[in-house]
């Protein structure tokens, strides 16, 4: 695929999505879309490490919450400007990712062990955030309502939507660039056969650390934006299992290791959630239960997610082979 097509497709999709608020949607719909985009962003972060890298984290909440709490604490306790706090929160997220990665990868953890240790880290963060006064304890941290663009607070939801969309779009462009780079080739090689990769000169520890730091940064951005939008973060919202699960569900359902997977998956999950809520009334947890079932079904029948299914249908119709995981430059 040529560079123009590879990046052009992303820009096209983002442009299309940008039109949504202009069609005059209801506040509820817009709100739902913002949340879906936040999940898509968090999921994109997970996708880099899990989809491309094959390292399944069950504790990405650790990074989401870090972004949210870092931004909230910087603003509310140290009076840092909201935009600066946003940027710093992302950087802190990257550092936390790097540290967790260093501890885990140096010990050679992968597969189920890696999933377990990331789950444990997220839980530890949650417990500490819940208990420690520095993190606001159980009530968490509230951002003062002060609607000014300079304060990263807006009257209109549409602006949050566009910001979230811009971040998702930027992330997708970065993912595409990685796909077409040496880093991307190395990440996939490590996933497929780490020893062979090492023998070919790949410094697997360094590559994995880059991947997890970037992955954490992206998910931290989602967390920081979350706290700007809702003006609240507490231990369960920031570090709870809900976001660890959503962050992995979206890319798996949408298409592991693909650029559009997380966005596709997040939208699908959002729609499914809405649908079940409409059908099942106010019963709590039915939509999430369904997501669990969906995860099993996807793994059982459509391992490459919705994108894979569409891709295979398309291929069957046009009689070509399915696109490879890494793009070759034409």
């Amino acid at each position: 695929m040529s560079a123009a097509r590879a990046y052009g497709l992303i820009i096209g999709v983002v442009a299309l999505f940008a039109l949504v608020p202009l069609a005059g949607p209801s506040n509820t719909l817009l709100n739902g879309m913002v949340l879906a985009l936040l999940i898509a962003l968090a999921g994109s972060g997970w996708n880099l490490l899990g989809g491309y890298g094959g390292l399944f984290s069950f504790g990405h909440a650790a990074f989401f919450g870090t972004g949210a709490y870092a931004s909230a604490i910087l603003q509310s306790r140290y009076g840092v400007n909201a935009w600066a706090a946003f940027a710093v929160a992302i950087a802190i997220g990257a550092v936390v990712g790097w540290v967790i990665g260093f501890l885990s990868f140096r010990s050679g953890l992968r597969g189920s062990y890696f999933a377990l240790v990331t789950l444990a880290f997220a839980e530890v963060f949650r417990i500490i955030a819940n208990a420690s006064p520095f993190f606001g304890g159980a009530p968490g941290i509230l951002l003062k309502l002060d609607i000014r663009p300079a304060n990263f607070q807006f009257e209109s939801r549409a602006i949050y939507y566009w910001i979230a969309l811009a971040l998702v779009g930027l992330t997708m462009l970065v993912m595409r660039a990685i796909e077409r780079s040496r880093l991307g080739a190395y990440i996939v090689a490590i996933r497929e056969n780490e020893n062979a990769a090492k023998a070919l000169g790949v410094n697997s520890l360094a590559v994995k650390l880059k991947a997890i730091a970037l992955s954490a940064a992206i998910t931290a951005a989602a967390g920081a934006l979350y706290v700007q939008y809702f003006l609240l973060v507490n231990a369960d919202l920031g570090f709870g299992t809900w976001i660890s699960i959503d962050a992995l569900l979206a890319p798996i359902i949408g298409g592991l290791g693909t650029v559009f997977g997380p966005l596709l998956g997040a939208l699908l999950l959002h729609e499914l959630g809405e649908l079940t809520r409409a059908i099942a009334g106010g019963v709590p947890g039915i939509d999430t239960a369904l997501f669990g079932a969906l995860l099993i079904l996807v793994i059982a029948f459509a391992r490459d997610g919705v994108q894979g299914v569409i891709g295979r249908l398309f291929a069957r119709m046009t009689r070509k082979t399915a696109p490879p995981a890494i793009e070759a430059v034409s």
Binding site: A185, A189, E192, A196, K198, A199, L200, N203, A328
Partner: protein, 252 residues
């Protein structure tokens, strides 16, 4: 073989113990640049362990390994690849989901940072090993012979000075072997030094100017192929004690 001032690889009294098991026992030899050297010996002799030691996947319990005069101790595999040592694996695992050329590009990226350059180099290497036609095929769909060539190509793409081939002929039928031998020879002609573990004696005799024989972790013989295969110790290592005498008695 012309004896240069410093050998390309120098294995100095290397021993490797795994708990109570001695896999490699006080092995010492030097390998000069620009030839094909065979490493033979009965199963369990320690050949693959020796490869792992040279490539950096295992650390010697005793002794050291020098490459181009430099002590390699403590250097991880990827640094050794950068220094010029490449290895293939006995059990060939291509990077699934990638095409042949994308597989090779992973190796090419060691010396070529840009994707376009790496892919171009990978294409060249694919041609060299005879995979030109399959360059855009899925690597997972290759035959055994194809996979062996891919393994070779990946290692070659790192532009090594020393290429460690671990049973690259295993699993190939006679005509496939016959087809791949010239490829290996052409690598040597291109300036790569090759150390190959091999059980296929025909190939060893055909390709190697020099042969090392390992048995029970010890280097029991080295020299020209013809010389080594007649060595009584070598015969006994493969066929058992007293075999040399028995054979002599039978054939005079």
């Amino acid at each position: 073989m012309a004896r240069g001032a410093t050998p390309l690889v120098s294995v100095e009294a290397v021993t490797k113990r795994f708990g109570g098991l001695v896999a490699v026992d006080g092995v010492t030899f030097g390998l000069d640049a620009g030839g094909i050297c065979g490493l033979i010996g009965p199963n369990g002799a320690g050949k693959t362990t020796l490869f792992s030691l040279i490539a950096g996947f295992e650390r010697p319990t005793e002794g050291r390994i020098r490459f181009r005069g430099q002590d390699m101790s403590g250097l991880p595999p990827h640094s050794r690849a950068l220094a010029g040592i490449a290895r293939t694996f006995q059990i060939v695992q291509p990077f699934a989901g990638l095409t042949v050329v994308e597989n090779i590009a992973v190796g090419a990226h060691l010396r070529h940072k840009r994707r376009a350059d790496a892919l171009a180099k990978a294409g060249e290497v694919a041609e060299r090993v005879g995979l030109g036609r399959e360059r855009d095929a899925q690597a997972a769909g290759l035959t055994v012979a194809g996979r062996k060539r891919l393994e070779l190509a990946r290692a070659l793409a790192t532009e090594p000075a020393l290429l460690l081939l671990d049973e690259v002929l295993a699993g190939l039928n006679p005509s496939e072997i016959r087809d791949i031998l010239p490829v290996i020879r052409s690598l040597r002609d291109g300036g790569v030094t090759i150390l190959m573990v091999e059980h296929v004696m025909q190939a060893v005799m055909n390709l190697c100017e020099h042969v090392l024989v390992l048995a029970q972790g010890r280097l029991i013989a080295e020299g020209e192929p013809r010389q080594v295969t007649r060595d009584a110790k070598v015969i006994e290592a493969y066929l058992g004690e007293g075999a040399a005498k028995r054979l002599e008695a039978q054939h005079g």
